[in-house]
Amino acid sequence: MKKLLVIVLLAVLGFYTASTFFDIGFGSPHFVKGIDPVKDIYINQTVKSLNVPNAVTSIVVNFRGFDTLGEVTVLFLAVTVLGSVLYKKRHEVGERSVLFSASSVVTSGAKLIFPAIILLGAYVFIHGHLSPGGGFQGGVIIATGFLLMLLSYESYSVSHKALSIVESLAGITFAGVGLLGLLHGGSFLHNFLPTGVMNSLFSGGIIPIIYIAVGFKVAAELTGVIYTVLNEKGEGNE
């Protein structure tokens, strides 16, 4: 009975959602071109005032930089909630819930591939303003490197203190750059540095600085999440 009710409800919801979007049409030019001046303004200003090739980056970090600061804060909040919900007293820490021994192929392969993953992550967030990618993506790639190490080696551990130091420093960098913009240009996150030559590494003013800070912050937070959940001992009273 409940199943039927849910299916009917979802069918109604799905029908109306789908018909709305089918009316717009996938890739219809009249929806984006001409009628939508926001896109044109963003894309033109990306080149004119920022000298950055990647329009998504310029929106995320510069035009909507305040939004990104809030987003990073939400991520920080999630990690904090995770830490407090899964809180354990110190003497209970130690054993991992996921205990398995990886084969020697996995362990030596992980050791070999770990620096390459970190390098790729760093490349992705350093070149965030030039190519697809950015701080969030690069940070996730670095966290996958740590996940690989944590799954391959039972004894591998990450220092929570180091993670929180990296995270705090990155957060302070983001907010500090924003406040410097307030001093120089009169608005928070104002792009006060010279924008340089387009398509070169040192261009875009504060965009690379902020995205590198975001990359470190996301990497530290995600590694913290993985480590906290992995070290959770399964102790239900069954």
Binding site: V6, T46, A55, I59
Partner: protein, 124 residues
Amino acid sequence: MNESLFSLLNYGVYGTAVILMLIGLYGALIKKSLLKIVIGLSVVDSGLNLLIVALGYYKGGTAPIFSPAYLAHPQLMVDPVPQALVLTAIVIGFGVTAVALALVIRLYRHHGTLNIDQIKNLKW
């Protein structure tokens, strides 16, 4: 890209996104296991993200990145705003999933089961 393929895409992309959302909602409402409910929520997330990104696309558009070949043709680029918003939405979705999983772990620690029928006060 020829016309018939494009009209297939027209219904295919939005249809996939809406179906993903419905599958996720169905899982979140019907399934008994808390883990499956969390998985359902993240499937809803994926469907929504796909829907928003697809909304910004237009026929023949390229990625909103000024590579040398497209420097003179900014009008060929797809709308970057939905992509930036989805970047935010993915991160928020990750945060939601992480917190939900933490609560699930905590509930399992307390009750010793993931079945919501056996955990009182969690039924609808």
